[in-house]
Symmetry: C2
Subunit: 309 residues, 2 copies
């Protein structure tokens, strides 16, 4: 079996080493050295150039190098009918939950204010509720959002969630649909976005959504940059509707040097590190699906292309 | 019953209101308006001026307004034999656990580096292990340290603890004694101090302790400022033995304007806010012990003065 590997952020050597342990017979072809395109059986990709996958006539499987598949579905010439798989790896799920716990705790404990106070040499204790008195909203209750919401609940936060379609999570009120979104926003002092990026969710973090939050709410976006309307965030920070934002993802990555987010005192930036793909653990999930391809068994974590996640 | 209230950081009005609900017959005398000193039955205090408690001839009980009692035992003329009680309040315990979780997650996720990178507009993802691969050491396994260690374990960290005398915590290796301290330090990439302040623990966070940690370890001190030898920390940060420090407590509070900690790039300061005394919940614990005084029943959370905690 021949697997095309393509990514500008993941290490081909690491993937080669880890997949080699599990599937010694696998041949990895690292883009752009793909050899004869007709020989490629499967593709393991992050942000493939539009049109590339359509040039592989015997391609039978596309696997994302990340939890989302928006970067694959964005290709207008994506060949139809080929199964597309999300990467689900417990290591990555844990990493995302850690990130969300850190950022929600940070906002809950007023860390941006204390950092500014330290800069100004100001010693001023602030009133501080317990986590049980802090209402957190989670947008997206899939593998990552669901796990992060449960972890926040364990930390003691008053957590509720929302997703497009109805879902249930133990002990966490879950809203859905447009009415449900308004209800979730209304009760969210801290709002976390872990939605899949689809035409229905692109730009969801906009002025209208911000207006539905309690005044002074904070947001965390660790899904995709395109969920956020950047100008609306800057306006909402200026007018006080939003008090702070923690952003791991951006419309343009790396974030351009002159972007106003870098120096905004109430925007905290991390360079897309919430949950990196981790070959030593993720390779097992990829190898499992490659074996399923060889054996003609159903795949795990297959995307419903009509839903786009 | 007449209770003396004395604190420069706690609100007498809040305590009056909360204790009044629980013990309507209680009379609160707020320092310095204590009236006839012979009428005072009990004292609820934070940092009482040395000699004051010795001037209350009918004092039968001293209750700390914080979890520690070092500020009471520091009085050389403290009248002997009077029971001294720590304040134990689940609300404060939760607040301390939140603080420790935030700061350990922050150090684990390399937040000080990412903050510096944002300042410099640098986009540079760093390798990031999961919490299970991060070894955290907890100094002190009392009410606060024990709870915080368990919470870190729930977050997934590889946690061990140490205290002077032998203790057991479910699922957490616990060391004790001098040899045990060396073993705990050796395995602690992040070290948290929640020890009581006693003559045996004052200055414990010194050059010798830092040298026992793995190179580049980070520390969190949310116990007392006097646990830390400040000059030794600055030297250990300079020579790289310690990579970062999060400090909530200081030898001199508020931290003086010209103190070098304020602007140190690898010291993060919070103004003694890890776990503030919370009258709406703490009043129940105080009222319970005042009832026990009236009824002659044994007190809860009495300090062993020979151990000093």
């Amino acid at each position: 079996m021949i697997l095309l590997f393509l990514s500008d952020v993941d290490s081909a050597a690491d993937w080669q080493a880890e997949l080699g342990k599990l599937l010694p017979e696998l041949e990895l072809r690292v883009w752009p050295d793909i050899g004869d395109p007709t020989e490629i059986d499967a593709a393991l990709v992050w942000r493939p150039p539009p049109g590339l996958l359509d040039q592989l006539p015997n391609l039978k499987l596309i696997i994302s190098l990340g939890a989302g598949v928006d970067h694959i579905l964005a290709d207008p010439s994506l060949p139809p009918g080929i199964p597309i798989l999300r990467l689900v790896d417990p290591y990555m799920t844990v990493a995302m939950s850690e990130y969300v716990q850190l950022q929600v705790l940070r906002l809950h404990r007023q860390d941006l204010i204390y950092r500014a106070q330290q800069q100004a040499r100001v010693w001023r204790p602030l009133p501080q509720p317990n986590a049980a008195e802090r209402r957190v909203g989670m947008l997206g209750l899939g593998v990552l959002g669901g796990a992060a919401a449960l972890c926040l609940k364990v930390l003691g936060f008053n957590v509720a969630g929302w997703c497009r379609t109805e879902r249930k999570l133990p002990g966490i009120p879950a809203f859905h649909g447009a009415d449900g979104l308004a209800a979730l926003l209304e009760r969210s002092e801290i709002l976390v976005c872990l939605l899949p990026l689809t035409p229905a969710t692109a730009g969801i973090l906009d002025a209208r959504l911000f207006a539905g939050l309690p005044r002074g709410a904070a947001i965390v976006n660790c899904a995709r940059g395109a969920h956020l309307v950047e100008a609306d965030l800057l306006a909402a920070l200026d007018n006080g509707q939003i008090s702070a934002a923690v952003l791991d993802v951006f419309g343009d990555e790396p974030l351009p040097q002159q972007h106003p987010f870098w120096r905004h005192p109430r925007i905290l930036i991390t360079p897309h590190v919430a949950a990196a793909t981790h070959p030593p653990t993720a390779a097992a999930a990829v190898a499992d699906n490659l074996r399923r391809l060889r054996q003609g068994r159903p795949f795990l974590n297959r995307v419903d292309v009509s839903m786009r996640y």
